[in-house]
Amino acid sequence: MKKIINNPADFVPEMLDGLLRAHPDQLDYADELHAIVRADSPVEGKVALATGGGSGHLPVFLGYVGKGMLDGCAVGDVFASPSADQMLSVTQRIHGGKGVVYIYGNYGGDVMNFDMAAEMAEMDDIEVRTVLVKDDVASAPPEEADRRRGVAGMVFAFKAAGAKADMGADIDEVVRVTEKILANTRTMGVALSPCTVPLAGKPTFTIGEDEMEIGMGIHGEPGMKREKLQSADEITTRMMEAILADLQPQAGDRLAVMVNGLGATPPEELYIMFRKVHQILSDREISVHRAYVGEYATSMEMAGASITLCRVDDELAELLDYPAHTPFFTQL
């Protein structure tokens, strides 16, 4: 895949420089470019929320830094964890006196570095709590759910946690709703084409013109199974069956739904998928509380999509409906 880039080694810093030039009223950085925070950080008296992870997933991760969502984000290189140092810089800059919650995907490098950062932050007397996102049903069976990776479902966690913190809740309450929404959130994805890490210069995998990868993540990695490319309705049904079997929503339940494009798949195709999702849920007498159709967690120019279902009660519905405003996500 051809890219509009300069020196591949400058991909992330130049992207960050552009981002800060585009949104000076909303974003700032702490110590170094790779530690992005709300321009008005710290928000005194509010529980602060931090995330972090590799680049190449916009709007994930830093795209959700803003009012009603996150306070800061440690930015790694493409598909690589940021360092404990960067996470600590973010933590120190956003701490508003009520503690910091780390919400991020369950990836080895990130976990190790966030754990190191938390140890260091605690030496500064900053209370740090961690909620790992593990929404991808394709990455491990239910009995090993702790091994699952975090994908697009993390956006619902950011949304609920951000709303709760903005409402003035304490750290226990913020952690509680974050864990609650994640306990009700499941995702599955499909990839049609790979992506190329700028410095690697070649695609993450090769795939035939008539094939797809079922159950891939958001790092250009191959999925769990390679199969013949199917129709939108068949693919959607496949993914829905896996998610529904895991989440087990009942007739009468309300779900927030996200149909997320991985990068190259156009919104038109996402709406064709959403149509089938809606039909399947209607048939089961499950209603859609809110629909998010678009690019929320990507893998650069990868073609493919993921579906996330999130069961909501009144509390979670209120948190999802709460206003938010970031450079990538605005909700009234």
Binding site: G54, D77, F79, M112, A200
Partner: protein
């Protein structure tokens, strides 16, 4: 002549390991693409470059502190899974010989074990999960046994290398049980673990010098 290892020798060993890493970037990338996300070669290349700069710029006095600072440098340069494990190994190895200006064979044993244990603490992988632990852990044990049996560090290194290779090959048929590769599922069976492969290459360079 006393049978000790100087700070310069330690620096030389680190330099050889990093030079090898720099040369193997594409190979490691291709291994990680086959069952991970393809970033390992790049990350380790960055770490190698940063450490080579560090070795050039930083004279060794206290070997322990020097190694710990190398670990912090590595974490900043490439904080991926393997980068962070490498950083942890360097920091722990340094901690094991804090304050020393030269090392005995027993110091080397302590460092090797500390690196092994540090990686296990940080990453929480167990032997058999098909990770770098399956190469470093048998290597550290073989090294300790060989030194205990009275052979030279040089010879003990060769034994450690053989154990690492054996460990690496023993997990190739298995399915990866932790980290990104674990999500690729059955397709990891029969494929070389990138972390093991890297460890063997680095160890070979370190002991071969």
């Amino acid at each position: 002549m006393r049978n000790t290892i100087s700070g310069e020798a330690v620096a030389g060993a680190l330099r050889r390991g990093c030079t090898t890493l720099s040369e193997q970037v594409d190979y490691l990338t291709s291994l990680d693409q086959a069952l991970g996300d393809g970033d390992m070669g790049i990350t380790m290349g960055k770490i190698a470059a940063a450490l080579l700069d560090y070795v050039d710029a930083t004279p060794v006095e206290d070997i322990g502190q020097w190694l710990a600072k190398a670990g912090m440098t590595a974490n900043r340069a490439g904080p991926s899974t393997m980068g962070t494990l490498t950083a942890t190994a360097l920091m722990r190895a340094g901690k094991a010989v804090k304050g020393k200006n030269e090392l005995t064979a027993d110091d080397l044993v302590a460092m090797f074990n500390a690196a092994d244990q540090g990686m296990q603490d940080r990453g929480k992988a167990k032997p058999g999960d098909k990770t770098i632990i399956d190469a470093i852990h048998p290597a550290a044990q073989a090294f300790e046994a060989a030194i205990a049996a009275g052979v030279s560090p040089q010879e003990a290194g060769a034994k450690a290398l053989a154990a690492a290779e054996e460990g690496r090959d023993s997990v190739t048929p298995l399915r990866s049980k932790i980290g990104r590769a674990s999500w690729v599922g059955e397709r990891t069976e029969g494929k070389l673990d990138p972390g093991c492969a890297m460890f063997v290459l680095v160890l070979e360079a370190v002991v071969g010098g």
